[in-house]
Amino acid sequence: MHFTINGQPHQAEVDIRTTLLDLLREHLSLTGSKKGCDHGQCGACTVLVNGRRINACLTLAVMHQDDEIVTIEGLGTPEKLHPLQAAFVKHDGFQCGYCTPGQICSAVGMLDEVEKGWPSHVSATLDDPDFTNDEIRERMSGNLCRCSAYPNIVDAIREVADAKQPVQAEAAE
């Protein structure tokens, strides 16, 4: 099977039952994406497929041969962190770190959804909702943190979201 992961072509011979998560971790040594529950409940395996966040544990690798897959390894490097990675470090948005790659991939996808104007369960109006911290908590509810670093995760995401907004405001002017 052929895959495009973090902009690079990959090839692997895998059992048809292989999930996207197992392909990444067990066959391509991309172990940044984590296996927590393996049932879509914890979000540790969150990756971006064609820019959208999904649970890599609940999909088959064979279904994603034509897709652009981005994992935590494709977002930043130790030398050049993605803004969300830097913000998680700055705000201490983790303790053990196991959920962090999923949190960050999820936050990237989530902020893109916010930019598209998608509402959430807590939005007072479905049209152009305000992006409050309640919105962050609701939209990130598919990512569990057993260390309960939630307040700092919200702070980290808030900082990146706020840093994006002035740029948009300038562009609008």
Binding site: G40, R52, N55, L58, L60, M63, M110, W118, D127, R137
Partner: protein, 325 residues
């Protein structure tokens, strides 16, 4: 996971022919099916991948309604401008379900067909007539907090877990299918699901190989729309009780009422007697209490889910107050 053959469908017609072969399942988002396959609750011999079929659009249709492709992801349906503006109850129901990641993957058709989250259905060491017909039901004397109080049978007390389908039931959706013989069927959502009776493993009226291609919503009904969901966590949890409500007032009286319920029964629940009792009447606490009495006239708890009966009553009354305030 049991080994399976895998095929990718190039057309809906080809998918239905492939799907008619014994022990075959369609896979689209796969978020529920793969979960069940990992646990060997579902063990299909063949999977037919349908996500590349051209069934991903939302379009307006004659008569003021919309046609939703079966492959439209839950996220996209909730965020669609037409759905947000005219069918708020559907956007709200979708946004109240699952997580951002799951909504991005789960399809409209798959959401309708998702299986119950009854603990005993998932626990392969337990007896379950839905998973293994004739084995018995351990839920009835077990931990049945999340299970049904309406429409149950001696064989099964499972609930249907969808939020989306509850809103579609209130909106009188029609499920459009393509059969392996080429026949197109238009199935009102009220006729789509089956009560468990003696065959709780048979959950809907689809035939072998029959593919859901679209869901159609008629012109948006008059009145205010809301989806109220009560659950154990504030987010990312199934409904204990939910209500999709659409109520129109005219001259201080209820002109029309559509009420569908999640978390109470084996299918999205709707009861014409409840709606008929409201129409033509002026909103009042007494009236709403009568409507709740009607809804729950045959309700039966199984111990740890007894609380759902008063909870459903309060949730319905709160919903009606919100919609008539």
């Amino acid at each position: 996971m049991k080994l399976f053959d895998y095929a990718k469908a190039d057309s809906a017609e080809a998918a239905t022919r492939e799907g008619a072969v014994a022990d075959t399942k369609f896979i689209a988002g796969g978020t529920n099916l793969l979960d069940l396959m990992k646990l060997q609750i579902e063990t299909p011999a063949r999977l037919v991948y349908i996500s590349r079929l051209p069934l991903g659009d939302i379009e307006e249709i004659d008569g003021g309604g919309v046609r939703i492709g079966a492959l439209v992801p839950n996220s996209d349906l909730a965020a669609d401008p037409i759905i947000r503006e005219r069918y708020e109850v559907l956007s709200r129901a979708l946004l109240a379900g699952a997580s951002g990641q799951l909504r991005n993957k789960a399809s409209t058709g798959g959401n309708l067909l998702q299986r119950t989250r009854c603990y005993y259905f998932y626990e392969t060491a337990a007896r379950c007539n839905k998973r293994m017909p004739g084995s018995g039901c351990d839920a009835q004397e077990g931990f049945n907090r999340i299970l049904a109080v309406l429409g149950t049978s001696e064989q099964c007390i499972a609930t249907h877990p969808s939020d989306m389908a509850v809103a579609m039931r209130a909106l009188d959706a029609t499920i459009v299918t393509l059969g392996s013989d080429g026949e197109r069927r238009r199935i009102p959502i009220g006729d789509f699901y089956r009560l468990p009776g003696d065959t709780p493993d048979v959950e809907n009226v689809l035939r072998a190989g029959e593919l859901i291609t679209h869901v159609e919503l008629p012109e948006p009904p008059k009145g205010r729309q809301t989806y109220r969901k009560v659950r154990d966590r504030a987010s990312y949890a199934f409904a204990l009780v939910s209500v999709a409500g659409i109520v129109a007032l005219e001259d201080g009286k209820i002109a029309s009422a559509r009420l569908a319920f999640g978390g109470l029964g084996p299918m999205p629940w709707r009861d014409a007697a409840v709606e008929n009792a409201l129409v033509g009447q002026a909103p009042s606490d007494a009236l709403f209490g009568q409507a709740a009495d009607l809804l729950l006239r045959d309700a039966k708890g199984f111990g740890s889910n007894d609380f759902k009966i008063p909870l459903a009553r309060r949730t319905l009354i709160a919903t009606l107050k919100e919609l008539t305030a």
